[in-house]
Amino acid sequence: MANVSFEHVRKDFGTTTVVQDFDLQVTDGELVVLVGGSGCGKSTILRMLAGLESVTSGTVRIGEREVTHLPPRERDVAMVFQDYALYPHLTGRQNISLGLRLRKVPKAEIDRRVRWAADILELDPFLDRKPKHMSGGQRQRIAMGRAMVREPAVFLFDEPLSNLDAHLRGQMRHEIARMQRRVGTTALYVTHDQMEAMTLGDRLVVLDGGRVQQMGRPLDVYGAPANKFVAGFIGTPPMNFLDGRLERERDGLVFVCDTLRIALLGERRPDPTVHSGEAVTLGIRPEDLALADAAGMGTIPGDLVLAEVLGATTHLYVEVGGRRLIAAVPSGPSLAPGTAVTLSIDHSRLHFFAADGSSLRQDGIDP
């Protein structure tokens, strides 16, 4: 087990820079999730840590050791891949033990570790099958077992659940979290799925265009996104954005977007003395919108386009002055499309972004 650190790491492929000035310190036993859209550089970062991709500049350390230029086998890391990467001609047991046999671990010790992994991951029923006779979930568990028995300094997960169906994905997510906590090994986990990122990570690193957009605990990132990209990326359904400007009105502030005027009531609003007259984007999480009985201060009138009933929650798609907002509300009596509705806003949970996308500090509250 070990700390992991990246210092000013950069990766170029030809003339294209895919990772820029990447810094990250992962403490011993922590599970850090790298999350971002495709092409954001997250997998490249993981592959650089594994030694499967060279580092253009910067330093990578595992524990006290600099590993920047070491080959993969000398780094003491184990990786779980999206497509499992099991050797098709070997059984589950042989797949799990191969890395140990290559390292000349005594047979009794190999058996002990395979037993241990099989117990934790419940691999017994398919340990002697070849991968083609296993389901996707079983293969992924074998792949996890293979990583576990190596007892590496660091676990690397490269979108390990992407090929599984939704039900299995949820189940495997629990297993990975449980396994990582149980063995207490430092882990880096790459995913494009923000739900996985939120539920698994001790800490999130949100990436875009090869740069870190924000790092922090999942709820902190969710509650106080550093910029518009993070705000839009983290959260399902995504945050609603309205482009407009701030105007001063008596002693308060109003957000103006075409004909829509929203009086800003909460404490978390930009400082009127600094930001009035400024073009801003207002961000509202769908769960911070609710159906109001009547129009009032700071409400938004609109027309219902679609109501998606998910069970306990309903997603309302509401047309507001040519823009579409999504509200996540507790399911209630059904509403027909075209119905005029009024949305109330939780003013204490609004987000404001400057023209460059960065979050505006709100009355002394750091984003």
Partner: protein, 270 residues
């Protein structure tokens, strides 16, 4: 009805190919009096033709030579060919695309064109009348590299990554991960190479004069040219030809499953 006609046509076509071979096989067991006939059965089967063949020329030795040469060439082509294919398909190094182009370009050069320069080279190396002259020029084969490279490109990258993380070096990855996954293309390359090396006549005729080093087809050619044209001689020559054909047929019978599988998956014509 159409189906029946179809099978009749297929059967006639198959017979057209099979009959000469079966006739040859039957004739090797016939006495001189029966050799001219078209029958596929010998009235008085005899092994005299094989005995005579064995006595008149060192066919036993030639059989061993052919085995040694064809096996060595096949193993070399598989080992070196797959190593080259692996490098060209899966390793990143400067000049890789040029090497790929050169490998394809080699296919465009007819073998006859390189025959004389190669012969000169063998003479200068002092390899005339040696196994090296029969093996080394064929130990590397561009077709094999291209067939294997095409297959190796389809192996998922994560499998190589995983093997590297498991602690394997590139050679070990090639022989313990890629080879077990590539049985079909390896079998196909193996059969094509073995048959080519086994049947080669022109090159051995150029570089080997010592009877003790001659390969089977070479000795058969020399034997046919100098053996006379009577019925007894014809049957003896056919017996020698049978000895030449049988190992290839046996090898093909065992490996045809992989061969056909590979043909179907790579879409390469034999």
């Amino acid at each position: 009805m159409r189906r029946a006609a179809f099978y009749v046509v297929l059967a006639v076509a198959a017979a057209t190919f099979l009959y000469p071979f079966l006739w040859m096989a039957a004739t090797t067991f016939k006495s001189p009096a029966e050799v001219g006939g078209l029958s596929l059965l010998a009235d008085q089967p005899t092994l005299d033709n094989y005995r005579l063949m064995w006595v008149r020329a060192p066919f036993g030795r030639a059989l061993l030579n052919s085995m040694l040469v064809a096996t060595s060439v096949t193993l070399s082509v598989l080992v070196f060919g797959s190593a080259a294919a692996y490098s060209l398909a899966r390793l990143r190094f400067p000049g890789r695309s040029i090497l790929n182009a050169v490998t394809v370009a080699v296919l465009l050069v007819p073998a006859q064109l390189t025959l004389i320069p190669m012969y000169t080279l063998i003479v200068q190396l002092g390899w005339v009348d040696s196994y090296a002259a029969l093996i080394v020029p064929f130990a590397f084969n561009a077709t094999a590299i291209l067939i294997l490279r095409q297959f190796f490109l389809q192996v998922p990258r994560s499998l190589i990554d995983s093997a590297r993380l498991d602690g394997m070096g590139e050679l070990r990855i090639l022989f313990t991960v890629f080879w077990p996954l590539s049985k079909a293309p390896l079998a196909m390359v193996g059969i094509i190479t073995f048959m080519g090396a086994w049947n080669e006549v022109l090159w051995p005729l150029l570089v080997v004069r010592d009877e003790q080093l001659m390969t089977l087809p070479q000795l058969l050619t020399v034997f046919s040219l100098g053996g006379g044209a009577g019925p007894r001689q014809l049957a003896t020559k056919l017996a020698a030809a049978m000895v030449l054909v049988v190992p290839v047929v046996v090898a093909y019978t065992f490996l045809q499953r992989y061969f056909i599988e590979s043909m179907a998956s790579t879409g390469i014509k034999g």
